[in-house]
């Protein structure tokens, strides 16, 4: 600790500490309360996230490196804290009615979710490769458990096992990459690696390059870049829908936080080496994600492939390695998590008991029974397709403009063509909802969706997401400014 004031250091991680405290409270409540413990756990978790969000907001503008340079608090980390915590609150709100219906253990679910969020936050603030690894594991292991929480559903278990095995594989890759980097740079500190590269040492060092490649692959698993995406559709389909929503929003953002901090910023001198790699990954990811999504019949699988494709768009923004690119990626991730949580919110609301009725076929004529959810879904689908005046357009606009500015015209051309392809499968959901009539009498038993019970939480959450997207689509200046400001502390030079 070397003369570091422990209290000052602890304030740097105070949002995480708040979450950990909430976790402990949550577990205690689950163990010792007799009645109403579900509600108590849930309320403690939401309050914990809100408090952590407030703490993060009050830390805005503060720049600090703590715990022997393991953790770096800056606007970049805080921006991601915001994403994780809002995503966490939204997930909790979306989950409550679902958990009750599926008789899932609320206390465990909430506690595990909080741990996972704190792991994401450590990833975003990590300034040392070991810290990156710790954060990643702290984030991932709880998610494996969450995926398996629907114990009676074999699909849920299957998805958890798949995710665990492939996740372990990814962790191994990442760890191996870290080891290689350590062996060439003699440090796992990002600051030290950056300094070595700045002074020209290590430029072109093959071991370091191999390490960098493995780190990209390891993170690529988490954010589901092609060809590391194999697990995504199965896990997204099998996991309980709220967990899928959380994975698609939080894990993706956390993975990209690491990718930006470790590769794009700390190794920016190597951009001539990683830019072509990211170019290829971005192109592959967009093409495979969008084209395969075309043939999906299950809406969760469709959204899984769509989430792969969106990782590709973020990578388009990052490939140039410019400030505008990082800003665009931040904006994209922010908008993406809102539209994805919103879309999954509608899926949750319209799903039947046992997480059924999630085939796109099941959406036929649903706009008649649930006009507001259908309208919100229309906003999410148009936004995911990137059509103005929704937030999704703003995200794509910035991502592609970063690429065009840096001269990556062809990458941008692939991007826009794939966006056009994506419109097809997003529209199909709307076609089913709005333009086709529900088949009467063919279903063995009618779907009794959550939406029929008028769940206030889900409704609020979906409405918030839809309005936020329309706001971001017409008034993007606030987000653009915050994202630009976020960059200020990220570049150490």
């Amino acid at each position: 600790m070397g003369g570091e004031d422990i209290l000052v250091a602890l304030t740097a991680i105070s949002p995480q500490l708040i979450l950990v405290a909430a976790t402990v409270l949550c577990i205690a409540a689950d163990l010792f309360m007799r009645s109403g413990k579900d509600t108590a756990c849930w309320a403690v978790s939401v309050a914990g996230c809100a408090a952590a969000l407030w703490a993060s907001a009050s830390l805005w503008g503060r720049q600090q490196v703590a715990f022997s340079q393991l953790v770096r608090l800056d606007k970049f980390s805080l921006f991601f804290y915001g994403i994780f915590l809002v995503a966490g609150i939204m997930t909790l709100v979306l989950s409550m009615e679902f958990l009750r219906r599926e008789r899932m253990p609320v206390g465990e679910y909430c506690a595990i979710l909080l741990v996972s969020i704190s792991g994401m936050m450590f990833m975003a603030s990590a300034y040392n490769l070991l810290m990156v690894f710790l954060g990643l594991e702290l984030m991932s292991i709880p998610v494996y458990v969450m995926a398996a929480l629907m114990k009676r559903n074999p699909k849920s278990t299957e998805s958890a096992i798949k995710y665990l095995l492939l996740g372990a594989f990814a962790s191994a890759l990442l760890l191996y990459g870290i080891a290689l980097i350590y062996s060439s740079a003699r440090s796992t500190s990002l600051g030290v690696i950056l300094k070595h590269l700045e002074t020209g040492r290590l430029l072109g060092n093959p071991v370091l390059l191999a390490g960098m490649g493995l780190v990209i692959a390891g993170v690529g698993f988490k954010v589901s870049l092609v060809p590391f995406h194999m697990w995504t559709p199965d896990v997204y389909e099998g996991a309980p829908t709220p967990v899928t929503a959380f994975m698609s929003a939080g894990i993706k953002a956390a993975g990209f936080a690491v990718l930006i901090r470790v590769v794009v910023v700390a190794m920016h001198r190597l951009s001539i080496e990683w830019a072509p790699l990211l170019w290829v990954l971005a192109a592959l990811t967009m093409i495979v994600g969008n084209v395969v999504a075309l043939s999906q019949q299950n809406i969760k699988r469709m959204l899984a492939y769509s989430s792969i494709a969106h990782a590709g768009y973020v990578l388009v923004a990052l490939t140039p390695g410019t400030r505008l690119g990082i800003q665009a990626a931040l904006m994209y991730l922010f908008i993406y998590f809102i539209m994805n949580l919103g879309a999954f919110g509608v899926v949750i609301a319209l799903s039947g008991k046992g997480d059924t009725a999630v085939d796109i076929q099941d959406y036929r004529g649903r706009s008649a029974g649930h006009p507001l959810y259908a309208a919100a879904m229309a906003v999410f689908m148009f936004s995911l397709a990137g059509v103005p005046p929704t937030g999704g357009f703003v995200g794509k606009f910035y991502a592609f403009s970063a690429a065009v500015k840096a001269g990556y015209i062809w990458l941008a051309v692939i991007g826009v063509l794939m966006s056009a392809v994506s419109a097809f499968f997003y529209l199909r959901v709307l076609v089913r909802m709005y333009m086709e009539e529900a088949e009467v009498g063919t279903a063995v038993e009618p779907i009794r969706p959550l939406a029929a019970t008028r769940p206030a939480g889900i409704g609020l959450c979906v409405a918030f997401a839809a309005l936020a997207l329309l706001f971001l689509g017409t008034m993007p200046s606030l987000l653009a400014r915050v994202a630009e400001e976020t960059l200020a502390g990220l570049w150490p030079f």
Binding site: P388, F400, S401, I409, V413, F424, V431, Y434, S477, A480
Partner: protein, 531 residues
Amino acid sequence: MEFLGNHIVSATVFLPLVGAVIVLVFVGRRSEAAIRWATLLFMAATFLLSLVPFLRYDPQAAEAMQFIERASWLPEYGIEYKVGMDGMSLLLFMLTTFLGPIGIACSWRSIETKVKEFHIAMLLLQTAMLGAFVALNLFLFYIFWEAMLIPMYLIIGIWGGPRRIYAAVKFFLYTLVGSLLMLLAILYLYFEHHRQFGFYSFDLFDLYRVHVGLGVEKLLFLAFGLSFAIKVPMFPFHTWLPDAHVEAPTAGSVILAGVLLKMGTYGFLRFSMPLFPAANEVFFPLIAVLALIGIIYGALVSMVQPDLKKLVAFSSVSHLGFVMLGLAVGSMQGVEGSVLQMINHGLSTGALFLIVGMIYERRHTRMIADFGGIARVMPVFAAFFMIVTLSSIGLPGLNGFVGEFLILAGTFKAHPVMAAFAASGVIFAAVYMLWMFKRVMFGPVDKPANRALEGNDLTAREVAILVPIVVLIVWIGVYPQTFLRKMDRSVEAFMARTGHAGAVVAAQADAGLLSEGSQQGIEKLGRVERR
């Protein structure tokens, strides 16, 4: 009041949006009459509001672009809210507000499901279309341009015919592919502007000044051009049009033909041609030849259509070919004729779709073979149908003639062979329209279903829909100066920018000839033909 006076364009653009929100929030789903009346009221108010810029527009002013409004939006990226209109956008703007209430009135009986959603979609569509015609910042334009897609997609897909889903998705994807490439071209131009002038701007007039090498310019022109060519639609990008028209409900067809197709030609006029004059020069043969193919091909395909609506749809391909030809030729007469022809096509084809819709509501068929002798049982209907048919053919004294005459005259000066080919399109138009008219309206009333139409002639509502259109059809045919005068300056500005600078001097010399002289010429020709 003064605030409104200074923001008259924005007020007009966003009034339908306000209407949409009011209908959404305050009018109950079940009170369908209230929804219809409220929407009609907002559309009519939008039209009345748009008369203000029409009356106040000063065609003599040095600056063609007037009523400019700007507001800060994302200043550090050169994105601002900037709208304004010149003579050309003014006319298209008026056309849009004029067709708005008609679209609502013609759906009074035919739209019976999801009434609230339909009217909200129509209002949103109106705002997006109006915005696209007046946007002077490319970012803003792109937003309106794309936003237009959503309500139209829903209108076709929800309230359309049996193959509506196929048609709607095809319409959406076709247009989306084009516009996404345009987005990249816009971005390229934007960064190029920053490189050359040191600040970011999406402002159209800033981007006019950017110079890029011919090779790049050609690519940019193609990226913009593809997007607009799909919208026009030019041959060979027209295949979405018949599907969309046939499946769309009447109001959708009217707006689609009346306004949306004009977005494509307007895009050429405002964006791709003036932004990339050198490439425009290079691609002139391509555009002109595609336009000619469109004219003749559209007419030939119309001739063999068994379905009334499809016939009208293909005739649009032919008519829009004329518009593109006039723009490509780029002479004063050609361009003025093109803009006027855009208005004419909006009126006469819009009216044709209305008429097809009216007969469809009575007979539930659109097949020409199912009709015959309708003129005997529905005389009022027949009279309107006749006027509109003749206007579409281009009979002197009605609007279609003026536009086509100007385009052909403009083309003939520079490219007589092209003019000859194009003129054949006029003849074909007479063939397919009159033949269709004969089969539908004349002959014996040999089908009982047609005889049953006796006493089921147009209602007062339907007459009220058609009368304003017919009035304008005759007005433009007899006294086009009201409209041509408005755009003289704007067309000169367009020609100066597209590099037909020499032509501008000549055009200014015979500007009087155009406005007064050509009118005499038109009348003279009309007299000759009538004899």
